[in-house]
C-alpha cells in the first residue's frame, strides 16, 4: 500500500470530498479525481485479475490506454462492465467492483492457472480443446468463457436515454492539447465553423489547468463559430469525411439529471479535419513486468500533477529516453522520493542529468531493469548492465528496493483515425514509431500524433494545420500568437530497447497485459510458422483486447521483427479499425430501441380491432387482426368459427394493408400491359383484373387485382409485403426503361382504407347500406368496380373474391375507415355478420387453392403454381423472355397441389413430402408443404404444397415429415381446389 495523497498540489478540489466504494469498501476522494487516482491515493494497488492467468494487476496508466484496471461501474440496470478506472471521473456515491476474480480480488482461486502457465501459451485453446467433433469445443467453451473473461453485462433494460446529433462544420479538430488548441484557434480566426473535441473531462491535454490554456479556451468559447466538446471521443473516421463521436454527457454522475441523456452520439461531417490526437507512452518488457506498482512514467507524472497523488513511497524509474525525466522532475517538485533512475543509454543530456541530480536519485546509466520482484505487489527490481547490441547480461544482477517503478520506452503516436482514413502507416526510425500515412481524405495531422513531442513545435504545427484547413475551405485565417513555450532541451528520441531480459532471465514477460500475451508466446507463434503480422495477431490474440493493444502493438511487432530477423517496417503493421476506444451500444442505438426500433403501421380500423378483442399480429411493419377470439377459444377454434360463418352467412376483414398504387396517364394501360404477364390493354372501365407480375429473370414476383377507374386511371393492388418494392420497380421502369410512356405512379396505400365483405349475404348487407348503388348481379357483375356512397361518404366497391364466396371489397378514404367499417357491421347484424382476421382469411384462400406469400417465394414460376394460362404468348412483358429457359420449363420442377391429412394429424408448414415406403435416412424429399390450415368446410387438416410431378400424383398417399419435431403425418395428394372447384358460389 504505497500510493498516497500529497498534502498539496493537483487540479483537485480539496474542499469537495467525495465518498465512494470499491468492492463494497468505502473510500474518500476529491472532485477532480478519477476512480484510479482516488484508489491510488487510498493506497489501493490491486485493481483486477488478468485475463488468462488471473495474476494480480494494478494501475498501468492514467488514460484510455489502460489494460489492467477494468472495473464494473455502478450496479443493477446501470451496471457497466469493463470500464477503465483511469477515465472514470469520481462522483459522490460512486460504486465500482473488480472483475474476473473469485471469490475475492485478493484471493482468487483461478490464480492457480499460473502454475499451469506453459499450458496457456499461444493458440492453446485451439490446440487443447479441439476434440474429434465440434461438440467437444462447445462443451469446453462454456468453462473457458467462465474462467477467462471480463466483467458481465447486465441483462436489465438500460434506464437511460441516448441522443443522436448530426453536425456539420468546416474544420473538426480532434484532440485539444497544445497542437489541437492552436489548430482550432487558427481555423476559428477565419470565421470557419470549428468543432474542437477531446476525450478528457476538460480541454487542454497536457496544458490542462495552465493559465495559457484557460485563456485560449475562454477565447474560443466566446466565439459563435466554435463548438467545444469535452468528454467527447471521436472514435471512427468514415467515408466522405464523416466522423463518429460519443459525448459522455452524464457518465461522470451517478445518474443523468431529468431530461438529460447519458450519452450523445455525434455524426460529424467536416470539410477538413485536423488530427491532434497525441501519443501514448509505451513500456519496456522485462521479467514479471505486470506486478502492481509497475506503471508508465508519464502516468506517474499525471497522478502527481493532476490529482496530487504520489504513486509510491520509493519510486524507481526505468527509461530509454528523456521523457521519463519530466516525470522525475514532477515527482521531485512534489516532494516524492525517487530512489533510482535506470537508463539503458550510456550517456544522457545535461538537462536530464540536472533533473536526476536534483532528485537525489541514484543514476544507473547503461543498465536496464531485468525483472520486477515481490509477491502481490512490487517490492524491488533487478538491474543488469545493458549493451545496445548484445542486450542485457546474465548474472551480476543487482537488486534495488522500490514500491513503484515508472517505465518509459518512448512514445507511440495515436494514429488510429489517420490509419482509418489513410494509407499504410510510415515508420520513423529515430522515434522508433509508426507515423500517419498518406491521407486519403481531407485531414492533416499535427503535434505528437505525427511524432512532434516538443511543446513549442506542437503549438507551431497546430497553428499551421488549423490555418491550412481554413484555407482549404476557401477562408482566410489570421495569424495567431503562439504561447511562449520555451523549446525543451529534453530529447524524446529513445534508444531502441524492447525486451530488457537477459538470455536466461526469469519471470513472465508480458507484451499485451490485458490478453496475457507474453514475449515467449510471440516466439512460439513464430516457431509454429505464424509469420504474417495478421496471423501473429490472431494466433496470439495480441492487441485484440478491449484496449486494442494501445501499449503493446509496437512492442509486439518489434519482437516479431527480432524473431524474423527483419526490421519493424518490413514486418509491417495492421490497420486500425473503429472504434478507437469502446463505444456503448446505447450510444449507437440512440432512440431506435424498443417500439421505436422501427415504425409501426396501423390501419384506420386498428382501434376498433383492439377494442373488439382482436389479437393483433405483425405483418412487416403493419399490425393486422389475427383472430377475434371469443371466450376461451383457441386460435384454431376462433378462425374455424370465423371461416364457417363467412361461408354460411357473411363476414368482413380489414384489407387496408394491401399495397395500393395509383397509375395514371395516357399510356397507363400500355404500361400495365408491359408489367403484368396477362393482358391489360382491353380491360374495360369499371372492371378489375387479377394480374401476375414476373421478375425480369422469369420467376413469379407478385400478384393482385388492378381496377380500371377511367380511360387513364387505374388502381393497382399488390401483396402487403411487396407494396414498396413494386412501387420502386414501377418508378424505375418509367424513369430508366420507358421514359417515353406518359404515366405517373403514386403510392396510395395509406390514403385508402379497405375491407372485404364476404359470404352469401354480402350483397344484401351492402345493398342495405350503400346510398346509390344497384348491387344486382347484372348491374355489378363479377370483377365489376363502381363508385358510390355510403352514408354520404364516397366509396369504391369492387366485386372480387379471395374467399370463393360472393364477395366485395369496399374502399374509402382512410379517415372514414372506421365509420364505414362500423356502419357495414351494424347493417350485417341481422345476418350474424362477424369480423374475421387474417387466420380465417388464410383458411378461406387455402380452401380455394389461391396462392399467396408462401407460394410466391421467389423460386416458383407461374407454371409451377398452375397459372401458366395467365402468361400471355401474344405480347412481350417483363420476364417473358426468360420464362422459356430450360431451368424454368424443366418437367421435374415442383408443382402446386393440395393435401388432406389422411390420419387426422395436423400438417406442418415446412414439412417435407416423402414416399410412405421410403426407409432411407434421410428419405428423399419429393417436395414440401407451403400453407396449412384446418378446413371447417372439409372438416379436415388440409395444406398446399409443391410436389414433384404434383398433378400426376393426385390420389397418392405420402408422408409429410417434420424431422425437427419428429412429426409424421399421412397425407393424400388432391387438387389444390379443395372447395367449390367450379367457382359457382362467387358468381351468383
Amino acid at each position: 500500500m504505497s500510493g498516497y495523497r500529497l498534502s498539496s498540489g493537483g487540479q483537485i478540489d480539496r474542499a469537495r470530498p467525495l465518498s465512494f466504494a470499491f468492492d463494497g469498501k468505502r473510500y474518500q476522494g476529491y472532485a477532480g479525481d478519477t476512480l484510479a487516482s482516488a484508489l491510488l491515493a487510498n493506497g489501493v494497488d490491486l485493481f483486477g485479475r488478468s485475463f488468462k492467468y488471473h495474476r494480480p494487476r494494478g494501475l498501468f496508466s492514467a488514460g484510455v490506454e489502460e489494460p489492467n484496471a477494468l472495473v464494473t461501474l455502478r450496479s443493477g440496470a446501470r451496471a457497466e462492465p469493463n470500464t477503465r478506472a483511469t477515465v472514470v471521473e469520481l462522483y459522490d456515491g460512486l460504486e465500482a467492483s473488480s472483475q474476473n476474480r473469485w471469490p475475492s480480488l485478493a484471493f482468487d482461486v483461478m490464480a492457480m492457472n499460473q502454475l499451469a502457465g506453459p499450458l496457456f501459451s499461444a493458440g492453446f485453446y485451439y490446440k487443447t480443446f479441439m476434440g474429434p467433433t465440434r461438440k467437444a469445443w462447445m462443451l469446453y467453451e462454456y468453462f473457458i468463457r467462465k474462467a477467462a473473461g471480463l466483467g458481465a453485462g447486465t441483462l436489465l433494460p438500460d434506464p437511460d436515454r441516448y441522443e443522436e446529433m448530426n453536425a456539420f462544420c468546416d474544420v473538426l479538430v480532434v484532440g485539444a492539447g497544445p497542437a489541437g488548441l492552436m489548430a482550432a484557434t487558427a481555423a476559428a480566426s477565419s470565421g470557419a465553423r470549428v468543432i474542437l473535441a477531446d476525450e478528457q473531462s476538460a480541454l487542454g491535454g497536457n496544458l490542462r489547468g495552465s493559465a495559457s490554456a484557460q485563456e485560449n479556451l475562454a477565447g474560443l468559447a466566446a466565439l459563435d463559430n466554435v463548438t467545444l466538446l469535452a468528454r467527447t471521443t471521436v472514435y471512427g473516421y468514415y467515408d466522405d469525411n464523416t466522423l463518429g463521436a460519443v459525448e459522455r454527457v452524464a457518465d461522470h454522475v451517478a445518474a443523468p439529471a431529468e431530461g438529460q441523456p447519458r450519452e450523445r452520439h455525434w455524426t460529424i461531417r467536416a470539410k477538413q479535419v485536423v488530427l491532434a490526437t497525441g501519443a501514448i507512452e509505451r513500456p519496456i518488457i522485462f521479467g514479471d513486468n505486470d506486478k502492481p506498482g509497475v506503471m508508465l512514467a508519464d502516468a506517474g507524472r499525471l497522478y502527481v500533477e493532476r490529482h496530487g497523488v504520489a504513486p509510491g513511497r520509493r519510486v524507481a524509474v526505468f527509461a530509454n529516453n528523456d521523457g521519463a525525466y519530466r516525470s522525475v522532475a514532477a515527482l521531485t517538485t512534489a516532494g516524492v522520493a525517487v530512489s533510482a533512475i535506470v537508463d539503458a543509454r550510456r550517456e544522457i543530456g545535461a538537462e536530464a542529468q540536472a533533473i536526476a541530480a536534483a532528485s537525489g536519485a541514484e543514476l544507473l546509466l547503461g543498465q536496464v531493469v531485468t525483472r520486477a520482484l515481490g509477491g502481490q505487489r512490487l517490492s524491488g527490481i533487478e538491474v543488469a548492465a545493458f549493451d545496445p547490441v548484445q542486450g542485457a547480461r546474465d548474472g551480476a544482477q543487482r537488486q534495488i528496493s522500490a514500491d513503484c517503478l515508472l517505465v518509459s520506452g518512448g512514445w507511440t503516436p495515436t494514429i488510429h483515425l489517420a490509419s482509418q482514413a489513410g494509407g499504410p502507416a510510415r515508420w520513423d526510425d529515430s522515434l522508433t514509431a509508426f507515423l500517419p500515412g498518406e491521407a486519403s481524405q481531407p485531414w492533416r495531422a499535427a503535434g505528437a500524433c505525427q511524432g512532434t513531442l516538443d511543446s513549442a513545435a506542437c503549438f507551431a504545427e497546430g497553428a499551421q494545420a488549423g490555418a491550412e484547413a481554413a484555407r482549404a475551405c476557401g477562408l482566410s485565417p489570421n495569424p495567431v500568437s503562439l504561447p511562449g513555450a520555451k523549446t525543451e532541451p529534453l530529447a524524446d528520441v529513445p534508444l531502441p530497447v524492447w525486451d530488457a531480459r537477459p538470455p536466461h532471465g526469469k519471470g513472465k514477460a508480458f507484451v499485451d497485459l490485458q490478453h496475457d500475451v507474453t514475449a515467449s508466446d510471440i516466439s512460439l507463434a513464430h516457431r509454429e510458422g505464424f509469420r504474417s503480422v495478421e496471423h501473429l495477431k490472431r494466433y496470439t490474440t495480441l492487441g485484440m483486447a478491449t484496449d486494442q493493444g494501445k501499449t503493446s502493438n509496437v512492442t509486439g511487432l518489434a519482437l516479431m521483427a527480432r524473431e524474423r530477423k527483419l526490421s519493424i517496417p518490413e514486418v509491417g503493421t495492421t490497420r486500425f479499425r473503429p472504434p478507437y476506444t469502446p463505444v456503448s451500444l446505447g450510444a449507437l442505438a440512440g432512440q431506435a430501441r424498443g417500439s421505436h426500433f422501427r415504425p409501426t403501421r396501423r390501419t384506420a380500423m386498428h382501434d376498433w380491432h383492439v377494442e373488439n378483442g382482436a389479437e393483433m399480429q405483425a405483418a412487416g411493419l403493419w399490425l393486422r387482426p389475427r383472430i377475434y377470439a371469443q371466450g376461451s377459444e383457441t386460435v384454431e377454434q376462433a378462425y374455424s368459427r370465423e371461416a364457417r360463418q363467412v361461408r354460411a352467412s357473411v363476414g368482413m376483414v380489414d384489407v387496408s394493408t394491401l399495397g395500393k398504387i395509383d397509375v395514371q396517364g395516357l399510356d397507363a394501360a400500355e404500361f400495365l400491359n408491359r408489367v403484368y404477364s396477362n393482358g391489360f390493354l382491353k380491360l374495360p372501365e369499371g372492371k378489375a383484373r387479377y394480374g401476375l407480375m414476373l421478375r425480369e429473370d422469369g420467376f413469379l414476383w407478385d400478384d393482385g387485382t388492378t381496377w380500371r377507374l377511367s380511360e387513364t386511371q387505374f388502381l393497382m393492388t399488390t401483396t402487403t409485403a411487396n407494396a414498396a418494392p413494386v412501387l420502386s420497380q414501377l418508378e424505375f421502369l418509367l424513369a430508366a426503361v420507358w421514359p417515353e410512356l406518359k404515366v405517373a405512379v403514386t403510392s396510395v396505400t395509406e390514403q385508402w382504407a379497405g375491407m372485404a365483405v364476404s359470404g352469401p349475404k354480402s350483397r344484401e348487407v351492402l345493398a342495405s347500406v350503400l346510398d346509390d348503388l344497384d348491387m344486382s348481379n347484372e348491374a355489378l357483375p363479377f370483377m365489376g368496380v363502381r363508385k358510390g356512397h355510403l352514408n354520404g361518404l364516397p366509396v369504391l366497391v369492387a366485386r372480387l373474391s379471395f374467399s370463393g364466396e360472393l364477395a366485395y371489397e369496399v374502399y374509402c378514404g382512410a379517415h372514414h375507415g372506421e365509420a364505414v367499417w362500423s356502419r357495414i357491421l351494424e347493417a350485417g347484424k341481422p345476418f350474424g355478420m362477424i369480423p374475421y382476421g387474417v387466420e380465417a382469411l388464410g383458411t378461406l384462400r387455402i380452401e380455394k387453392g389461391h396462392v399467396a406469400g408462401p407460394e410466391l417465394d421467389g423460386r416458383t414460376t407461374a407454371e409451377d403454381l398452375g397459372l401458366a394460362g395467365m402468361t400471355s404468348r401474344k405480347k412481350h412483358y417483363i420476364g417473358s423472355s426468360m420464362l422459356k429457359r430450360e431451368g424454368l420449363t424443366d418437367p421435374a420442377r415442383l408443382k402446386l397441389v393440395g393435401f388432406v391429412s389422411a390420419d387426422g394429424g395436423k400438417i406442418r408448414a415446412g414439412a417435407h413430402l416423402v414416399a410412405a415406403n421410403d426407409t432411407s435416412s434421410p428419405p428423399r424429399s419429393l417436395g414440401h408443404i407451403t400453407s396449412t390450415t384446418y378446413s371447417p368446410a372439409l372438416e379436415k387438416y388440409i395444406a398446399l404444397g409443391l410436389l414433384e410431378d404434383g398433378p400426376e400424383r393426385v390420389g397418392e398417399k405420402l408422408v409429410a415429415t417434420y424431422p425437427l419435431k419428429n412429426i409424421d403425418v399421412d397425407v393424400e395428394v388432391v387438387s389444390s381446389h379443395f372447395f367449390d372447384p367450379e367457382g359457382s358460389r362467387m358468381h351468383v
Binding site: 467515408d239 466522405d240 461531417r269 418508378e731 424505375f732 430508366a736 421514359p739 429457359r885
Partner: protein
Amino acid sequence: MLQITCPHCGARAESEFHNGGEAHIERPKDPAALTDAEWAEFVFLRDNPKGLLLERWNHTQGCRRWFNVARDTVTYEILAVYPMGSQPPALDPRRYV
C-alpha cells in the same frame, strides 16, 4: 457515410438513397431478336470495375426520382451527378494498378 447530391433536392446523406446498380444498361427494344446468351447478358451480367463506375441512384427517402452518378469504386469519390437519359460527362477513366 457518403454525401450524395440529388439533382432535385441537393446534398443529402447516403442513407436517404438507394443504389440501383450499373447505369446505361438499355433494355433491348426488340426482345425477339435476342439470343438466350444476349438476354442473359442483359439480365444478369454487370461490370464491376476498379475505378470509374456509372450507376443509378434513387432518392428513395426524398423526391423518389432516379438519376445517374459517376463514382470511383476505390475512393468512393462522386465524380459527377447527371440526369437519367443523358450521357455521362467526359471523365478520366482512372486506372488503378
